[in-house]
Amino acid sequence: MSDYEKPSMDLFQPNYDRPEADLFEDTLDKRHRVGRVWKVVFQISTVIGIIALATLILKIFNDTMGYAAIQYKKNPATISTTGKSLEEMSCSELWPILAENVSKNRLRTIEREKILEERTKTECYNLVMFEVAEPTVKKTWPLLASLINYQEIQAYTAEKYPEGDLTFKVWITKSFILSPQSDDPLKAGIKTAILGSLFIILIVIIISFPIGVAAAIYLEEYATQNRINNIIQTNINNLAGVPSIIYGMLGLAVFVRYLEPITSGALFGFSDPTTANGRTILSAGLTLSLLILPVVIINGQEAIRAVPNSLRQASYGMGATKWQTVWSHVLPNALPGILTGTILAVSRAFGETAPLVVVGAATFITFSPESIFSKFTSVPIQIYQWTARPQDAFQNIAAAAIIVLLVLLLVLNATAVFLRNRYSRRW
């Protein structure tokens, strides 16, 4: 017996002290009042959920731009001797300024990186800014405070950093996306992290898609109801609920340590000096593949199950074998669903941080990954590292990186929704 068959009837219990007619009328008002109160409670709860989401998104946007108190070693206004502002000067005009202000050795290093003629105007400008003016961010304010309390901010800056400069800074820019990692929040970018993420995701797709789909086909089309297949099915459901950090520990033990000759590339003659031990893109990719495999399988199974049996029967009726039926009839019809499920699973892998930290993401790399045996970092890892630093400006670039991550995820999810709407068929 379950509870619903005997709902509590306290409110309907007749009260024999009173005449029958009163009874119903008396409690009805009260019951409706209670009902109205609770309806408001339910509504408020829902609004709280929506407010949480809105606050989260606004908070992140709020941090991506705002005033920043920047202190220069040498004020950009006084660097130029000709009266022209630095932004207006051409590269050949900027070069002498650079030569005048930096040491000979440093100039030679800069020239060796790229000669004058190949540099664009912005590159030259940035060089002069960072090499000569040497700005440091002292304090930043979020957008909302910048708009409301401009006077206060100005007064604060004038008092605390008399030589400082108050500028409105947008932290998410093209150069932020295209620059490698750096210790200086003004120069730092997430190119390295984006490339790392893409490399890892590529491995995840290459491994988890075929294996996941194959396992789904096996379980839905081939497996009979026996003990082993039941164990496999239950096991997959359980694996889907294992915390991601456990997969990180598994990856650390298996891919990073046990299979180190393979994952470090040593077995294949890659002796990249930067990839000490197995903490490589390959290890990270394999770990995340295992992590999303159960989800890919479960989604694949659902898609295959949605293909009506009549299609299979028709195919068998024409003399097709089991595999021919699966390959030519079941799979093409299940593919949109499978792809949607896989993309959603991949977008989960894209945002994962904990397993990658455990597997051994590099704390600081400025060079782009070259092969799957390179050290790795990823966008979420970068966000984690920047969030952990106390200075204001790192919070701003962490927010900028979050925007990049959310946009990438949005693109992935929109693709999934598009595929589902465009190709899914109702039987």
């Binding site: 609770w38 081939y222 497996a223 297949n229 694996l239 915390p243 650390l252 984690y384 959310l406």
Partner: protein, 318 residues
Amino acid sequence: MYEAKNAQFPATSTDEADYMDLRSQPRIHESIIKGFLIFSGVISILTTVGIVVFLGQEALRFFTDPQVSLVEFFTGTVWQPQIYKFGILPLLSATVMSSLIAMGLAIPIGLSVAIYLSEYASQRIRSIIKPSLEILAGIPTVVLGFFALTFMTPLLRSILGNDVVQIYNVFSAGVVMGILILPLISSMTEDALHAVPNTLREGAYGLGATKLEVSTQVVLPAAISGIAAAIILGISRAIGEAMIVAIAAGAGPNFTINPFEAAETMTGHIVRISGGDISYDSLDYNSLFAIALMLFLFTLTLNILSQRIIRRFREVYE
């Protein structure tokens, strides 16, 4: 051999060789394909075996070390690997505390949202709010960790005072974790409520029940198995969640029951230690596997329990 254009029906053909050979033939490539399919299915088993074997193996190394005693591991209140103190209670208490805070927030609000969406809201409102809340569930946890540290903590500090709330504290991590789990609970509960057939509702209305009475005394009890499963999954998720607590809850084991103090959870500890320079085969390294094994066993038990509840107590209508 059979060829399509020469095919003739046996009845009209007199030549034996033209008959279709209808006996099943061995198809080597199909067997190979089937082998690959089975192998793919078995990989999931290998993953589980891998988790148990490798976690178990390293954890065993930890427990058999002369510096470690099992009793101390489960009862000790100090976790300081430098002086060989391995008591899991400080880590466990922080995990339990943050999960309790998260569930304390997520269960009442999640259930209210689910009841509102399933019983009160119009189809249009439902189709807007439900996906919006599911976006919350899809946001990477590192982003929520950022939110906890840079929004929730300053907010708490401005309300309760800087001397009450530490910069890193379990409470704000727990609250944000509640925000993460809320959509999981509301979505699964809403599905369960939605599956309750309308006849039950109409029966109750016929008896003169108000909307609230129908929702809470008829529909909710009827969907209790789905709701219980959702709550248990939520707990399992809270225990295993790593990034929010790693960022916002603090970096150092602390045996306390004050949620406004910094404390490190099991997952937070694993993230912090493995993110630093750690030498393999050290006691410190092996201890992480012992913690991970505990974590795995906790969450596995909860997940199995959740599935059992769904299977045992599900009301099948029609």
